[in-house]
């Protein structure tokens, strides 16, 4: 494949697509679990992702200014994750829980409202301007470059991308252990597959819901931090603009299936980047102006054409 497409394809289209895909995948895990277990589309998910990144930035800045040494974003993310999870649980307790037995629309509206509240809150506290996360240019890793170059397959990949891809991989492993080996994880999958069945088997749904927010919050903050590691800056609208591709990923992978969401995320990320590859002739296949539309189009096509094949759960 590499010989056919050349390294340009790998370096400029495939790897960036993979990186974006990893971020979508992590975000989509939370969305798919919420959808599977609480049975609603949580529109505030992207904002939690964003506020998690802002918490991380704040921790980094405080440590740097207070203690005088910089810490890695992945370290600073630990307290940020705790905060984001508490936020999720707080929001659930006061804004979502009152609607547990009400029609879905109410809680979706409530999550719509929370989306607005959280974003505006961040904008009023941290301000609407961009914040620098890491200044400078991330050059490709020289070791990898020269090493792969000796095979005539030069890979250009900055360190941040290694962190993102490796980090996503580690989280995947941890998550698969959690979901397949632990009691709570099995419970989550059971509830997600069939809430009626789970109720009969005596699973405490409220505990499962709390676990969902914890896992979802963890993955959301990880996605947020990876996103700002890649962008190297923070911005208050980044949560919303990731939201729809993440929904698309969750739908693609099948609602309620975390591993499906991962595959969906990677597919959406790659599809977006590859849609502008000059497959035919010299110009990009699709005008980059339409790039955002790729995820939406995939999502709609999937919803319509393969509603039951790839998907599981409550679609019809």
């Amino acid at each position: 494949m590499w010989q056919t497409f050349g390294f340009e394809f790998v370096n400029f289209y495939f790897i960036p697509g993979l990186v974006v895909g990893c971020i979508y995948a992590l975000g989509a895990i939370g969305i798919t679990l919420t959808f599977g277990i609480l049975r609603f589309a949580n529109f505030a998910h992207g904002e939690v992702m964003m506020i998690g990144a802002y918490f991380t930035w704040t921790v980094m800045t405080l440590v740097k200014n207070g203690l005088g040494f910089p810490i890695h974003p992945l370290v600073a993310a630990v307290p940020a994750i705790a905060l984001a999870i508490s936020l999720f649980i707080f929001v659930d307790r006061y804004f979502y829980k009152p609607f547990r037995s009400a029609p879905t629309i109410r809680v979706v509206m409530a999550s719509f409202g929370m989306m607005l509240v959280i974003r505006s809150f961040v904008q009023s506290v941290w301000g609407p301007n961009q914040l620098t996360f890491v200044p400078g240019i991330a050059r490709p890793n020289e070791t990898v470059k020269s090493f792969t170059n000796s095979f005539d397959m030069m890979i250009l990949m900055p360190n941040k991308h290694f962190w993102i891809i490796a980090g996503t991989f580690v989280i995947m492993l941890a998550l698969s252990w959690l979901l397949t080996k632990t009691k709570i994880g099995k419970g989550m999958r059971a509830v997600s597959d069939s809430p009626e069945l789970a109720k009969v088997s005596g699973i405490d749904v409220e505990i499962i819901i709390r676990a969902t927010w914890i896992v979802g919050g963890f993955c959301a903050v990880a996605a947020g931090v990876f996103l700002v590691m890649d962008l190297q800056m923070l911005e208050t609208t980044m949560g919303f603009r990731m939201l729809l591709p993440m929904f698309a990923a969750a739908i693609l992978g099948g609602i309620g299936r975390p591993f499906g969401a991962v595959v969906g995320g990677l597919v959406i990320g790659l599809a977006e980047e590859l849609s502008v590859y000059p497959w035919l002739g010299n110009g990009p296949l699709l005008s980059p102006g339409y790039k955002t539309g790729v995820a939406f189009a995939i999502m709609i096509v999937m919803l319509v054409l393969r509603p039951s094949g790839l998907f599981k759960g409550r679609l019809f």
Binding site: F35, A41, V108, S120, Y290, F296, L303, F316
Partner: protein, 354 residues
């Protein structure tokens, strides 16, 4: 005196925009309140209506195709029809999807519509948008209208010129506002009739229990598409009226989902979905809060700054816009929990003959 005119003109503008939102909310009420279709792509249908109207009614110009200069009522009707056609196509494909899925799909479609409007520069002037959109009543004082039939039959251009000159420059505002309110009233009447009719009964039945409606011989899919299309046509009308009010439309900022889609949902849910009065009431209430809160928050901050002179409130002032959004978001949560069925909840009309 000026102050009084000013305040009334502002009141008229509140009614105008509130009325446009009321039309949107009524359109959504057909889709959600009657048929239970979770359309989260309101901005897309409004954009289709607005662009159709703009392209057909503006004067020819070098920036984009269209500019056909057609009569306004024709352009408004076309806006409704095209919006309905697009809804029909979407309905054919997506109508079987339930609640959240339909919402996500329609958000995606609305974004694709906006991307199209943004990227097809030749047709739509791209992100720069279309300006000089004629506005009813006010357009009469435009040269291209009073020099052509039927206005030219009544008087020549000099006559019209002097006639319009002697009017106060805001003469058309009450008329435009009145037109919109009349439209709201007409749609309200039509929808009330429809809701109380066998059609409304059937729609409610489909919403309440699809299986039973099916077994009672109702063509559920076709009826859903019907409600979706009628709602979209009403939204297209609202889009056309909005473009007349703004006189410039662009794909990105005008049809921002948080102000076009989300706000309309807030209006309908707060007012009472399924109830046309609720939809209208919610639209005016939320718009007045949305618009007037800026005056109150700004002057409140001003007052606060005068009282607490040793505090720097400039930061608060620059962030007032965001604080406003927080307040409105929390207000929505309050209404959702306090009035689960909206402020004016749905009441099924009892059948005729009883």
């Amino acid at each position: 005196m000026d102050i009084l005119i000013g305040y009334s003109l502002y009141g008229i503008s509140l009614l105008t925009v509130g009325g446009i939102y009321a039309i949107l909310a009524l359109g959504l009420n057909i889709q959600w309140g009657y048929a239970g279709l979770f359309n989260a792509g309101i901005a897309g249908f409004a954009a289709v209506g607005a662009y159709t109207f703009a392209l057909l009614s503006t004067a020819p110009n070098p920036y984009h195709y269209g500019g056909l200069g057609l009569p306004l009522p024709f352009a408004i009707l076309s806006a409704m029809v095209l919006s309905g056609c697009i809804a029909f196509l979407i309905g054919l494909v997506c109508i079987r999807l339930r609640s959240d899925y339909l919402a996500i799909a329609t958000i995606g479609i609305a974004e694709i519509i906006k991307l199209f409007l943004k990227n097809e520069n030749d047709l739509t002037n791209g992100p720069r948008g279309i300006n000089k959109i004629p506005r009813p009543w006010e357009h009469l004082s435009e040269e291209r209208f009073y020099t052509s039939a039927p206005m030219s039959w009544i008087s020549d251009s000099a006559g019209w010129d002097s006639f319009f000159d002697q009017l106060p420059n805001w003469w058309w505002q009450p008329f435009f506002c009145g037109t919109i309110l009349v439209l709201v009233y007409i749609i309200y009447r039509l929808l009330e009739t429809a809701q109380r009719s066998p059609w409304g009964r059937m729609m409610t039945a489909i919403r309440e229990n699809e299986g039973a409606a099916h077994a009672a011989g109702k063509h559920v899919t076709r009826r859903r598409i019907e409600a979706f299309v009628i709602g979209a046509m009403v939204m297209g009308l609202a889009g056309a009226m909005l473009s007349q009010h703004l006189k410039l439309i662009d794909p990105t900022n005008t049809f921002d989902p948080s102000k076009m889609t989300f706000l309309v949902w807030v209006m309908l849910v707060a007012g009472g979905s399924g109830n046309n009065k609720g939809a209208i009431f919610g639209a005016f209430l939320v718009w007045v809060i949305w618009s007037a809160s800026e005056i109150f928050i700004n002057s409140g901050l001003h007052l606060f700054g005068e009282l607490v002179s040793n505090m720097d409130i400039s930061l608060l002032k620059t962030r007032a816009g965001y604080l406003r959004m927080v307040v409105i978001g929390l207000l929505l949560q309050y209404i959702l929990q306090k009035y689960p069925d909206g402020i004016i909840p749905e009441s099924r009309p009892t059948s005729k003959g009883n």
